[in-house]
């Protein structure tokens, strides 16, 4: 039994109060909802609204970008509320402290944290509302509250003779005090959680009705595109817009901080206008950036000791005494998120208010940025969160640039404006997964197991200079660069991880699974190399080094068993395995791979085992694993952003390829039953995929691919190295 704050109906406690167990409870009622309360609906807290017509509206403070929060979060409420799932409605939350992330102190979605960090908060919200409904029924019947019990949208009396619906009880319940104590269900008593539920957003996503930011239409809406510098860090020296202004439909050309915007009646005219602009650019310091040169620079940086991110024992002494020494270096390119919905934002700036419609992952930061640009107080900035056509981190930007552009242009135009990024703008627009290099040295003992291991990681800092620096940059180490490496579970007594911060310049960002997207590849491929050097089976080798990590072993064993490890793969394919923990969840994958006659990698099948602790919606977890495998495979086989002369060489899906239906492997997902605390599911399926494929390719060919992506050209280069 945990205590909750003393929130009376009229005097809701202020948000941010840290209560027993460090939980922030969402029992503060935003002003605009409090106003609605007088009109009748039962609004016990910021997350629930029950009306006389029986609708139960759950207000969702997370962005729906495909990961299923518009279903998983209502499930948490519905379980404790005993609501009828058919009556559940969802509503995107406004920006308000009541809807802040329970750990971040701002409103936002990311880090595979939504379910984990909302579980208690939403469960308690549901339980408190249920108790009030039960008490309302007890009062009406003049019975003891203990004899009244909520089930599936009704409160029923123990004797079975009376029942009242939530809608009938809403008005009475609204007059009651919010309970100070609520008890949550034991896992075994749950009816909704852990049972597959249909996603609430599916129908609207099959008939064109779901509204994404790019679909928002307003009277008098103008469309803008922005000409941004061809090189990161470049600036506008001057421009000639005389031709652009002559394009039919073009309304204005506006210079903003990030470039020159062309505003028109419609998108095609804005695009035409942009092509007619003549801009002189000062290209800045990155005008000669070249990926091949950068790779050599990173490799050279790794020659020297870096800042220590993790240390156990004495690596140098242990290496000196090792029976065998092994070295390898791994290289990773920049990667674009390439969300299916190109970035966009609608802004309408008036003298007394600003309204924004956007698919964003960081509402508070974007709202505050708009307030700063317009000079309005934050509460006069209304931000509407739409559906997001993918996020992957691309819509969680500390500088709010895609919102900022729209607000600047709308302010200048004194009219509502939608800024649309083309796919080229997106692919060339930066905020990439940083390029990285991992250099290993290890020593094996007489039994073939590693006695010493050192990893040096070279990577730009994602968080430096952002509001996230305080939490994630510690002693010169960007945690997002070394996560998954510094905390490797492999039991190696003399262990050292060092970090070199690569020079800043190219805008970098979290990309689905963040640092794990490269550290897992390095860790899981190198451990495979050590197993091979020791002439041991890579699965058995991992088991020995993970003996004290039951959850790692659990998924590893499950994936190996389901894949038929040790037996020939289907269609003469070869197996590779990888296991990795990230965002509180453990995932192992076995890939079945063959090499085509043209020298490219064909992935036939991926077997995935996941232990993400307590489950909410099992079908969504499966879907997220399938999704992560495709996302990981796109990057592993095709993904790279490269620079020449400072320019990004890729531009659209023809040269920044994402996996197609004809490349889709058969995917099997197995869930480990677990009562562990809930882990994330959006990201943890990504990290093991690429190393499982690379390890399978090694099994098939005897060649190690240490540079991503694993293109036919990379395979040819690996053959030349032999």
């Amino acid at each position: 039994m945990n205590r909750i704050s003393n929130c009376s109906r009229r005097e809701f406690c202020k948000t941010g109060a840290l209560l027993g167990g460090g939980l922030v409870l969402g029992f503060y009622l935003p002003e605009k909802l409090a106003g609605a309360a007088a009109e009748g609906p039962f609004i016990p807290n910021a997350f629930i609204r029950i009306k006389r017509d029986e609708t139960v509206t759950i207000i969702i403070n997370k962005s729906e970008m495909g990961q299923g929060v518009y279903t998983a979060l209502p499930m948490l409420v519905a379980e404790e509320l005993e609501a009828d799932w058919q009556k559940i409605r969802i509503e995107a939350a406004p920006v308000d402290p009541a809807y802040n992330h329970t750990q971040w102190g701002i409103q936002g979605t990311g880090g595979s944290t939504s379910v984990r960090t909302s579980w208690e908060q939403l469960s308690r919200a549901g339980a408190a509302a249920r108790i009030m409904l039960e008490k309302a029924a007890a009062a009406i019947w003049q019975e003891d509250a203990g004899s009244c019990r909520a089930e599936k949208g009704f409160v029923v009396h123990r004797d079975g003779s009376r029942r009242l619906s939530f809608g009938e009880l809403a008005e009475k319940a609204a007059q009651l005090e919010v309970p100070q104590q609520v008890a949550l269900k034991q896992p075994g008593d749950c009816k909704v959680l852990g049972t597959p539920q249909k996603r609430l957003d599916t129908p609207d996503k099959t008939n064109g009705k779901a509204i994404y930011g790019i679909d928002v239409m307003l009277p008098g809406l103008l469309t803008a595109v922005v000409a941004r510098p061809p090189v990161f860090g470049g600036t506008v020296k001057g421009f000639d817009d005389s031709w652009a202004r002559k394009v039919p439909g073009v309304k204005a050309v506006v210079q903003i901080d990030r470039g020159v915007a062309v505003v028109a009646d419609h998108f095609p005219a804005a695009e035409r206008g942009r092509r007619a602009l003549k801009i002189g650019w000062d290209l800045g310091a990155l005008a000669r950036l070249d990926s091949n040169v950068q790779l050599q620079q990173y490799r050279q940086m790794a020659e020297k000791p870096g800042t220590v991110a993790a240390k156990r024992g004495d690596f140098a002494a242990a290496l000196a005494g090792a029976a065998r020494k092994i070295e390898a270096d791994y290289h990773f390119p920049y990667l674009a998120h390439a969300p299916m919905e190109p970035l966009n934002c609608v802004a309408d700036v008036r003298p007394d208010r600003c309204e924004i419609w956007v698919g964003t992952q960081l509402q508070t930061i974007d709202r505050d940025k708009a307030a700063a640009i317009t000079g309005l107080p934050p509460e006069k900035v209304i931000l509407h969160t739409t559906f997001l056509g993918c996020g992957f981190g691309r819509r969680a930007v500390a500088d709010s640039h895609f919102v900022s552009e729209a607000v600047q242009i709308a302010k200048a135009m004194k009219a509502p404006v939608k800024v649309i990024w083309t796919r080229e703008d997106d692919i060339r627009g930066g905020y990439y997964r940083p390029a990285a290099c991992s250099v290993f040295a290890a020593g094996l003992g007489a039994d073939g197991l590693p006695v010493a291991l050192r990893q040096r990681i070279v990577c730009q800092s994602i968080v430096k200079g952002t509001p996230f620096e305080g939490g994630l940059l510690k002693n010169g180490i960007d945690e997002t660069a070394v996560e998954g490496a510094a905390d490797s579970p492999y039991e190696i007594t003399d262990f050292l991880v060092e970090y070199h911060e690569a020079p800043a310049g190219v805008p970098v960002l979290w990309w689905r699974s963040v640092g794990h997207s490269h550290t897992a590849f390095a860790k899981e491929c190198f451990i495979d190399e050590l197993a091979h050097a020791a002439r041991q089976d890579p699965y058995a080798y991992r088991r020995k080094l993970l003996a004290n990590h039951p959850r790692q072993l659990g998924v590893l064993d499950l994936a190996a068993r389901k894949a038929g490890w040790g037996q020939p793969g289907t269609a003469g394919a070869f197996h590779g395995i990888a296991v990795h923990e990230s965002f509180g969840s453990h995932v192992a994958q076995v890939a079945e791979v063959s090499v085509t006659k043209k020298g490219s990698i064909k992935v036939h099948r991926v077997v995935c085992a996941v232990d993400c602790g307590r489950l909410v919606n099992p079908d969504t977890i499966e879907a997220q694993m399938e999704s992560a495998i495709v996302f990981g495979l796109s990057a592993a086989l095709h993904g790279q952003i490269t620079f020449k002369g400072g320019r990004v060489q890729q531009s659209n899906f023809d040269n920044y390829r994402i996996l197609g239906m004809d490349e889709m492997p058969q995917v099997e997902v197995y869930l480990v039953k677990s009562d562990e605390p809930p882990g994330g599911i959006g990201e943890p399926g990504v990290p093991p995929l690429a190393p499982a494929v690379a390890n399978a390719f090694f099994a098939a060919s005897g060649l190690r691919l240490r540079t991503l992506p694993m293109t036919p050209e990379a395979i040819k280069a690996a053959i030349r190295m032999v």
Binding site: E64, G208, K209, A623
Partner: protein
């Protein structure tokens, strides 16, 4: 002025002849179910039916679409067998590409009521899904084919 027949309705649109049909549908007719993804015919998010044939609407000009029967996701309704199969198989994640996927799949099934996996791979490979829902799309197409075979409307 261009005359377009979209979802069995006639529209007179004041637009230059070479504007891609996609933008006419989205910004002039304001049917936003058809999505912009790449603008170069690579991703299939903008797929519509032109006289029943699946076509990326970013690659067709308004003029070229004149006199043809254009069907968008909104014109498919809510209970086309492909849509029902999509719901049954819980295909969508972010959902952004799914209008295009559904239009492509509906055209496939109209031409080939019982496609095999290879037929599906071939027909659907121009429709990208960044969320990676391909396995469920494949399952849903088989389900829709099966249901249609049992006498459901197609």
């Amino acid at each position: 002025m261009i005359s377009l027949n979209i979802n069995n309705k006639n529209y007179q649109v004041e637009v230059e002849e070479d504007v891609p049909l996609l933008w006419v549908i989205r910004e002039y007719v304001r049917l936003t179910g058809t999505k912009f993804g790449c603008g170069i015919g690579e991703c299939g998010s903008c797929t519509v039916h032109l006289d029943g044939e699946a076509t990326p609407s970013c690659q067709i000009t308004a003029k070229e679409a004149e006199g043809r029967k254009i069907t968008t996701i909104e014109g498919l309704g809510d209970d086309h067998p492909v849509q029902l199969a999509w719901i049954e198989a819980e295909v969508p994640q972010c959902g952004y590409c799914q209008s295009g996927q559904i239009m492509q799949a509906a055209a496939l099934l109209a031409a080939n009521p019982h496609p095999g996996d290879d037929d599906i791979d071939h027909a659907m490979r121009g429709n990208s899904c960044r969320c990676g829902t391909y396995q469920r799309i494949r399952r849903a197409i088989h389900q829709a084919a099966e249901k249609s075979g049992q006498g459901g409307k197609s």
